[in-house]
């Protein structure tokens, strides 16, 4: 994860490719015939109303819920139908929408485990954690700024720290692709700025990102490209600037008000460096 962005011989094609992926819950098409690519080094932002199928898409990519049809290809290899463990070992990590963690273990133990069991498949685990795992874990805790809280039990951490811990754990499993599901959901502006700073550090570590987020300001700030889902289908894919001018997106999702505010935000951001972290 400490290699440059261009680690995967750049030219070889997308890091992740979804082709005609569908998922049905009974008669409901949670995701329908969806196709998109993610290139190495990109940050793809996914937006869309509640129930649009965003989390379901992550469930399929990370192996928790098999696609009913279509194909998911990671780094040239079809991973459709793989178990979550195997997908993790292959290089895709996920940050969940809900706060998840190993509650009775300390922050550091959480991250060490993620590295030891997540970075490679341990056919037979050793009797102790390797030095390397501990170092990796400590580095990941540094990235999210939690080195000083490493001995606190996960269940005693406040919400923001649990989010950071989840990011550190995901990072510790040495992913090439990181899926983040609403990483700033439920946080206040100050906390959001904190997560923005952390996420901003990830591309330089060689991690390609797909971020689902409702907070559009957060999304446009970090993404190199955005995709909007609605009723399980893609209604927009392209630049953030294009999105706020897109008729369909404005009508079904953003609304005029948000669109205008985002336009101001984007031009301010283009104007001077260091975006304001207000709501």
């Amino acid at each position: 994860m400490d290699q440059g962005v261009a680690s995967g011989d750049g030219i070889r094609g997308p890091l992740l490719a979804c082709r005609n992926v569908s998922k049905y819950f009974g008669a409901l098409a949670a995701v329908r015939d969806l196709g998109f690519d993610v290139s190495p080094g990109e940050v793809l932002g996914i937006g869309g109303p509640n129930g649009a199928g965003k989390t379901t898409l992550f469930e399929m990519i990370s192996g928790f819920n098999a696609a009913d049809s279509g194909e998911i290809v990671f780094d040239g290899e079809p991973i459709t139908g793989w178990t979550p463990e195997r997908i993790c070992h292959r290089g895709i990590a996920r940050v969940f929408q809900m706060n998840a963690g190993f509650d009775t273990l300390s922050a550091r133990e959480n991250v060490i485990l993620a590295n030891y069991f997540g970075a490679t498949n341990r056919v037979i685990p050793g009797l102790r954690f390797s030095r390397e795992s501990m170092d990796r874990a400590d580095q990941s805790l540094e990235v999210v700024g939690m080195a000083d809280k490493r001995h606190v039990a996960c269940r005693h951490l406040p919400v923001l720290d649990r989010k950071r811990l989840m990011i550190a754990s995901a990072l510790a499993s040495e992913p090439r692709l990181l899926l983040m599901d609403e990483p700033v959901g439920g946080l206040n502006p100050e906390e959001i700025a904190d997560i923005v700073a952390i996420v901003g550090r990830l591309p330089a570590l060689g991690v390609t990102l797909i971020i689902i987020e409702h907070v559009m300001r957060f999304l446009v700030q970090l993404s190199t490209r955005v995709m909007i889902l609605h009723h399980g289908e893609k209604i927009y894919e392209g630049s953030a600037a294009g999105m706020i001018r897109d008729r369909t997106v404005v009508d079904v999702y953003l609304g005029e008000g948000t669109s205008t505010r985002l336009a101001h935000f984007l031009s301010a951001k283009a104007g001077d460096a260091g975006p304001a972290a207000s709501a």
Partner: protein, 335 residues
């Protein structure tokens, strides 16, 4: 393993090895030997229930399975029990894998129900076993020994070596099995494996997303704990020279379960503390025959309500930090 664990362990072992030098009554030696057996089962049950958080009630079924297999191999194949013993342990492993696979799709209370059902079915199969398997003179014997119990498969041969002191041979063998089982549970709890078990206990879905296979590690914890539990069964068979369906009584299962709880669920020293406490309590209640189970139940209720962390948990989390005024945080959560 911390230095403290090693010191405590060696001190306990030395004390148990020295007991026979004090020339105690045969009754005491017998009770201590029984303690070795129960404590062995409890160390392993603690791994499954406390560390891995799987609500399995099949531990006595594995114990009985190991005991019956050991006895049957001795009886029907004429093997010395020394060789039958490890086979009994491995047979319990095989049995536990079946149970483990059956439990994989279930959660919490359903695991408890299924495993309880398995041990009750085993009990029923044994006590309703009336078919003649072989003739012993003019008496008809069942494959499992039926309600009479399985006998005549021999013992560990200490009578020939030690004469009247034979029981000491069993005493030391039982102590050795307990020492091995305890050591194994320590190594596992403190190793990445134990941490993986606890991760799965805390959050299965999240554990899988971090590369920890539920399938692999749940079966592994079943298998490891079954091996020593099966050995305890084989040793029980050889020590008492009879293997009966009473090993599958629900009351025994509850007795051992209360040892896990009283000792401190998931704590490394919990099983030994719990087994010792409950056996002493049982001894105290013995005279009031009809209240015996009631007394054990009362001890369990008291602990659940007043000391939910059990003896080991209370000492580790509350008493020791007070003495040492240790730096807070580290180690506290990981017992």
């Amino acid at each position: 393993m911390s230095r403290r664990d090693i010191v405590v362990g060696l001190a306990l072992l030395a004390a148990l090895l020295a007991v026979p030098a004090l020339d105690p009554s045969r009754y005491i030696i017998g009770q201590l030997t029984l303690f070795f057996i129960w404590a062995t089962i409890v160390t392993q049950w603690n791994l499954v229930l406390g560390v891995a958080g799987i609500f399995s009630l099949a531990q006595t079924a594995l114990f009985a399975f190991g005991g019956y297999v050991t006895g049957m191999i001795g009886l029907y194949f004429g093997w010395p029990l020394w060789f039958a013993l490890p086979v009994g342990g491995l047979a319990a492993v095989a049995f536990s894998l079946l149970i483990g696979v059956a439990c994989l799709r279930l959660r919490g209370a359903y695991v408890a129900l299924l495993t309880l059902a398995i041990s009750q079915v085993m009990y029923l199969l044994i006590i309703t076993d009336t078919e003649c398997f072989y003739m012993d003179g003019v008496t008809c014997r069942n494959l499992t020994g039926g309600t009479r119990g399985l006998t005549k498969y021999g013992d560990f041969g200490f009578r020939e070596i030690l004469g009247a002191q034979w029981i000491l041979g069993n005493y030391y063998l039982g102590a050795a099995i307990l020492a091995l089982a305890t050591l194994a549970s320590f190594i596992i709890i403190r190793s990445p494996l134990g941490m993986a078990f606890r991760a799965l206990r805390d959050n299965q879905v999240y554990a899988r997303s971090r590369g920890i296979s539920r399938f692999k590690y749940q079966l592994l914890v079943f298998a490891v704990s079954a091996f020593f539990t099966g050995l305890a069964g084989g040793f029980y068979a050889g020590h008492f020279k009879v293997m009966g369906a009473n090993t599958l009584y629900l009351s025994l299962s509850l007795f051992l379960l209360s040892m896990v709880i009283v000792g401190g669920v998931g704590r490394v020293w919990g099983p030994l503390a719990g087994a010792a406490t409950l056996m002493i309590a049982d001894e105290a209640f013995k005279e009031f025959v009809e209240y015996r189970n009631l007394g054990i139940g009362a001890v369990m209720v008291l602990f659940v309500m007043l000391l939910p962390k059990g003896i080991a948990g209370t000492i580790e989390d509350t008493l020791l930090p007070r003495f040492k005024r240790a730096p807070k945080g580290e180690g506290q959560e990981t017992g």
